[in-house]
Amino acid sequence: MVSRSLTTLAAAALLVGALPAQFSKGQTPTPLEFVKVWNDGPASFDDFAGRVVILKFSESW
């Protein structure tokens, strides 16, 4: 099981409106601002620096 410096983040969000293109491999993604975090989540996107991050966007429906 991978664990060292591995952060899994589930960002819950709703899909609406027109969709821009995804970020491509090698691009630096736009930082996300966290309104609220659970389970000892990161305080800011900067906390991911130097880590392997699995950024999972989920919906409840």
Partner: protein, 242 residues
């Protein structure tokens, strides 16, 4: 702003699904830049901050993630100055007690220059922050329900934080696992499941079929355990792969 209200995230992901991993509510405007077409969508970000895989790619497997993890430096950012090389080397080894002791020794030196003092003070705060996070993680691991995996992770914490509080906390959790009959049962089942899965080659149709049959037997044998639930989920996954 998240597409989902704070109350919905709390109810669905935390209360109902029992998520133990970090969850963040994000702003709708931020999320739009990620071009999400479906849910769940997964981006994997490499240690250098760039996209390693996108939602349209195959999700990297554990081995690929492990390879990516090898590129991670445990050292926090510090000035590109050879005077910090010894400290950088200690961080790289991941021996946190040595990092702490090195910092404490240098910070106590009377002739430490102001710039180095600032860097060492920040580094000392960083190791305290990481220790606090490791302790919090130990507490979460102690809650189960996957005690077999938790024990593996606790052993890693114990090794990496030897001589510091997270290691003590990890050792205490392991001792608690060993003295709790219900957890011991979960550990036995969890380890048996790990062994069973590792002994089958699920990349081939025949291997998946044999694994599915073995998991059915496992589920009956260890009924009522978390591992039996995991076996059930695995059976469903395998059925979807045929």
């Amino acid at each position: 702003m998240s597409g989902e209200a704070e109350g919905t995230i709390q109810k669905v992901f935390i209360d109902q699904l029992g998520a133990k991993y970090p969850i963040a509510q994000i702003k709708e405007s931020d999320k739009a830049a990620y071009g999400l077409k479906f849910f769940p969508s997964v981006y994997v970000i490499a240690p250098d901050g760039t996209v390693h895989s996108t939602p349209d790619d195959r999700m990297p497997n554990e081995q690929e993630i492990e390879e990516l993890l090898k590129t991670v430096s445990l050292a926090p950012k510090m000035p590109d100055d050879p005077r910090y090389d010894p400290l950088r080397a200690l961080w790289k080894k991941g021996e946190f007690v040595k990092v702490r002791d090195y910092l404490d020794k240098n910070l106590a030196a009377p002739n430490l220059d102001a710039a180095m003092k600032d860097v060492f003070t920040a580094q000392r705060a960083e190791i305290d922050k990481r220790a606090a996070a490791a302790k919090a993680r130990v507490a979460r691991l102690g809650e189960g329900p996957d005690y077999a995996e938790a024990e593996t992770q606790l052993e890693k914490v114990e090794k990496q934080w030897k001589g510091m509080e997270p290691a003590t906390a990890a050792a205490a959790e392991k001792a608690r696992f060993a003295s709790d009959a219900k957890i011991k049962k979960e550990l036995t089942a969890g380890r048996a499941l790990q062994k069973l899965v590792a002994s089958h080659d699920a990349s081939k149709t025949s291997g998946r079929k044999k694994l599915g049959e073995a998991l059915q037997q496992f589920r009956k044998k260890y009924e009522g355990t978390h591992a039996a639930s995991q076996a059930e989920q695995k059976i469903t996954q395998l059925a979807g792969m045929r």
